[in-house]
């Protein structure tokens, strides 16, 4: 058990991150000014509806946003022990420095374990590749390490499974292998992008347990991306609620659940069916639909769907983030200054 670091020394600090897609039709502001901190041994939950920019935030951190997407602003500070922190946003995507971070210091787990593996190589091949990329391990050592990793994540008969192809495994096993691959180089930050969405309820619970266990053993800083408030309640210490590329509310998980402030957060919470009854149900009771990325509403982006909408206020300016107790923040004209 690694001692959680003192609060205030986050491993990863994202500041005002902006990632835009420059399309012929216009600019998609996929991520539009998001800030958060991630601490060792803690879990940051990022929650929001489909398309609000959660995955693009994760990819921006690793510098693997697809073209024509680009980080156009903000900072991503990665702290390394006594060394000077490095701003990942300034590293060129294909630089050796950036690649040394990917997989080695920050690793990613994906939503679709089926589509996220190549089916032309064995799972062992794909794990060993990650190990050998970031270490001097011989093929033999790398293979032994891969088998040990598979064992750690609860893959039965790892010596045999390592030579199988992804399509020969069940969905749950595939996701375990994906986690093993992410842990291949002992990263300090693990980003899990909807790691359980594609799984059935029982497997989902097992994978979440596994992630929690690994985090405690290894003192991982975990960023857990989901659109499921139930998963947030179960896993997260801190929460960022995203809407249309912006963080509309941030806070400790207790505060978010017991005293949600932003109308969007409240709507999300109302939409949880009942705790864990049907975790895959999408946010059904949330009224209205997400605006098209090219038609971002003027003023507060949430105003067309907000039940606390104030005419002449909310449609005129974008609410700034207002700091509250315990590092919490909310961006809504119900709090703080109005235009």
């Amino acid at each position: 058990m690694v001692e959680p670091r003192a609060p205030g020394s986050p491993i990863l600090s994202v500041r005002d991150l902006k990632t835009y897609f420059q399309l012929d039709e216009g600019i998609v502001r996929a991520v539009d000014g998001v800030s958060f901190d991630v601490q060792a041994g803690r879990t940051l939950g990022i929650v929001g509806e489909s398309g609000c920019g959660k995955s693009i935030t994760a990819r921006s951190i690793l510098g693997i946003v697809d073209k024509p997407g680009r980080i156009v602003g903000g900072e991503i500070w990665l702290r390394r022990g006594a060394d000077q922190p490095v701003d990942l946003a300034t590293l060129p995507a294909n630089s050796a420095a950036m690649r040394a971070v990917r997989g080695k210091e920050i690793a990613l787990i994906f939503q679709e374990p089926m589509a996220s593996f190549s089916h032309y190589y064995t799972v062992g091949n794909q794990i060993i590749e990650a190990i050998r990329e970031h270490s001097d391990a011989t093929p033999r050592q790398a293979r032994d390490r891969a088998i040990a990793l598979l064992d750690t994540v609860g893959v039965p008969q790892p010596e045999r499974r390592i030579d199988e192809y992804p399509f020969q495994l069940s969905g749950g096993l595939r996701q375990r292998v994906m986690i093993a691959m992410a842990l291949a180089c002992d990263p300090r930050v693990l980003i899990a992008d909807e790691p359980t969405t594609a799984l059935d309820v029982t497997t989902q619970a097992q994978i979440l347990d596994l992630l929690r266990g690994l985090q405690q053993q290894r003192g991982l800083a975990l960023i857990l991306i989901t659109h499921d408030m139930g998963v947030i309640a179960e896993m997260a210490d801190d929460v960022v609620v995203m809407y249309l590329g912006r963080a509309v509310e941030k806070g400790k998980v207790d505060a978010i659940f017991h005293a949600p402030r932003h109308p969007y957060t409240r709507a999300l919470l109302r939409s949880i069916p009942s705790i864990m009854a049907a975790p895959r149900t999408k946010l059904a009771t949330l009224g209205g639909s997400i605006p098209h990325p090219f038609n971002r509403p003027a003023g507060c982006p949430f105003h067309p769907r907000c039940d606390a909408f104030m005419t002449g206020v909310c449609d005129r300016a974008v609410p700034a983030a207002l700091a509250g107790p315990d590092g919490s923040e909310v961006s809504c004209f119900l709090y703080g200054e109005r235009p």
Partner: protein
Amino acid sequence: MLAFTVRRLLLAILTIWVISVLAFAIIQLPPGDFVTAYIAQLSASGASVSEAEAVSLRELYGLGQPFYVQYAKWIVRVIAGDFGVSMEWNRPVGEVIGDRLWLTMLISFAALILIWGLALPIGIYSAVRQYSIGDYLFTLIGFIGLAVPNFLLALVVMYLSFRFFGANVGGLFSSEYELAGWSWDKVVDLIKHLPLPAIILALGGTAQLIRIMRANLLDELRRPYVVTARAKGIPEYRVILKYPVRAALNPFASTVAYLFPYLVSGSVIISIVLSLPTVGPLLVRSLISQDMFLAGTIVLLLGALTVVGTFISDLVLMWVDPRIRHQLD
């Protein structure tokens, strides 16, 4: 895996059978029967055939009996390696064809290798650098390659080399080797002559395959497993070559199934223009002079070899795709 192989094998045999029926139909095509034509041909050249000889020939070919009996007699002899006699050359068909069959296959195969060798890197480049100047340039060249029939290209190349270099680029051998027996020097000479017809034959196919590779790869580049590979910190060129290119390779390689027959028939045409010693000119001449055993045999052998080539490539493809390999055993 086994079931798949057996299915493909049966299909190949069926195809060859259909081709053989077709080839025999070609032999049967001219009016009158073969022996009558043969006798007429011989008497025209001064020789004569005795009545007994004519009867035994009729018996041998089953003339006057139903089509399927004649076919059966013919195919049994073909399997035993006896393709009949060429009337025009008055020699066994097998002898007349000689090396030409292998040279035809060689040119087609050389064109195939060339097509892959060019289309693969260009297709990868065009997909990875989509909409770059290079991509547009290759697209343009590709469309020209598709639009120009290869016999026309062969004519143009012939004309240009004659006009500006005074050289005749036809043939597959220099004159001193043309009639010589096989020797190491003759092989070297052949290899020197091979590129030009191969390039002419390959152009259209290359253009097609560049489009196929580009489209497949563009599709694969967007897949989540590419993001996974990038997230591991592997250099970009290795990400692309190991993952999406590997995935795009299978549909690319499987184009051999339709490309090869197209090349074989294309080689027939450009062989005539470039006067290459392949079966092409022979086939055309035999059809004109109604030398039907020769024509039918060429059609049969070309068809059968093409089917065999396709069958082998099918097996190889199946073997290199782990999903097929594992699902079927």
